[in-house]
Symmetry: C2
């Protein structure tokens, strides 16, 4: 299967190049004292709505910046402009392999538009997709994924890499549970099967339920909460 081997080599080459750039991004984040979260989910799982609640709640407590990844449009970045924080939009449309994810090089280009030393927490909102974003490191400290209860309880089994690589799982849209046939205990068992250790919070970006736990988690991530980083 010569063709399969050739394709595998291409993929490995791409991933190696990506890892090198991700490492450079990471060094840039560390120098600036910026903690970086790679936020991933299906399309429409509620990433941007959750971000809006997060920015409202952490206003004045944490200097937050956002890098928005989308195939096209600046819809998400536009929604965040009202918060007056640094936001940059990266559109993946001309990228490799259908551009269904951010890669380290795309993030690297976006960083040029962000004042990193003035950002405590950078949230990278990845392209909505449960497969490829998990394969590409971008230099993040943590991976957070959002799984909406409207998506069904089988998703951890069907997209194990995404769920396995997450450091925190936000189970979103729990306000809809009374109107769904979603089996929450079964979902949590499926999640345990692929990632038994990551904490999980039940949240509703719509009603605000659980957003306080999520924000507390974010505040605890900061290595130097007193902002005494020697590199600032």
């Amino acid at each position: 299967m010569e063709r399969t081997v050739a394709k595998t080599l291409v993929v490995e080459g791409v991933l190696n190049a990506n890892d090198a750039i991700a490492q450079a991004n990471r060094e840039q984040f560390d120098r600036a004292g910026t903690y970086v979260i790679n936020l991933m989910s299906s399309p429409g799982a509620g990433k941007t709505t959750l971000l809006e609640h997060t920015l409202e709640r952490l206003d004045g407590k944490l200097r937050i910046g956002v890098l928005e990844g989308d195939v096209q449009t600046t819809v998400d970045a536009d929604r965040l402009l009202r918060f007056g924080i640094p936001v940059v939009q990266v559109n993946t449309d001309p990228g490799f392999g259908g551009a269904c994810h951010l890669d380290a090089n795309m993030v690297h280009h976006g960083l040029g538009a962000l004042p990193l030393p003035a950002i405590d927490l950078l949230i990278i909102e990845n392209v909505g997709n449960l497969v490829c974003p998990a394969e590409f490191k971008v230099g993040e400290d943590s991976r957070v994924m959002i799984s909406s209860v409207t998506e069904g309880e089988d998703k951890p089994l069907k997209y194990p890499l995404m769920f396995r690589s997450a450091d925190l799982i936000l189970v979103n849209k729990v306000d809809l549970l009374p109107h769904l046939d979603f089996d929450l205990p079964q979902f949590l068992r499926n999640l345990d099967a692929v990632n038994p250790t990551a904490p999980r919070f039940l949240v509703s970006a719509r009603t605000g339920q659980g957003v306080e736990d999520w924000c507390a988690w974010l505040l605890a991530r900061r290595p130097n909460a007193g902002r005494t980083s020697p590199t600032d």
Copy 2:
């Protein structure tokens, strides 16, 4: 930007090879007299649940087969076994580019397990993803996409290729509309902006609403409804 050019050539080579195999698949479908639908959506938009309703309703009216595409597991294929129809599962895990989509070659391999001449309608349930599945033809006659109202009204703008390439759009989970902030008229305007011509049905795979329209559309797709295909 030498690297960008090299990457583009790789992508074009992959797509050209894919198109050639898609054409071969298509000829195989035509010889067998099988009408083929490529069914696409986000993860958890309701493809398999809708399929279950469809199979119940069209039992005895159309000989249906299903090719299930997933990154991992046979969860979806297992759900369809009770219908006693030909079902084959294709797992994309070892494939190219993260395997977030079916390509023509994967479908070609799956076809070996299906009795095509005994299948009037083959439904290919693609991997849940709003980006790459739209880039890879698999030899289908029509593309049908499902967009769930839980995903938000901005999705046609953010994933225009998927919405533009669809021949029919099923707006699913409309039973949840009373519990969401979803702006249906705005969604339909966004859909018109990228695909003004494709018909769209409001459906609920959970309550069965609109499933009759969808099944009527399927029955009308068959070129030889009286099963007089000369190639049978």
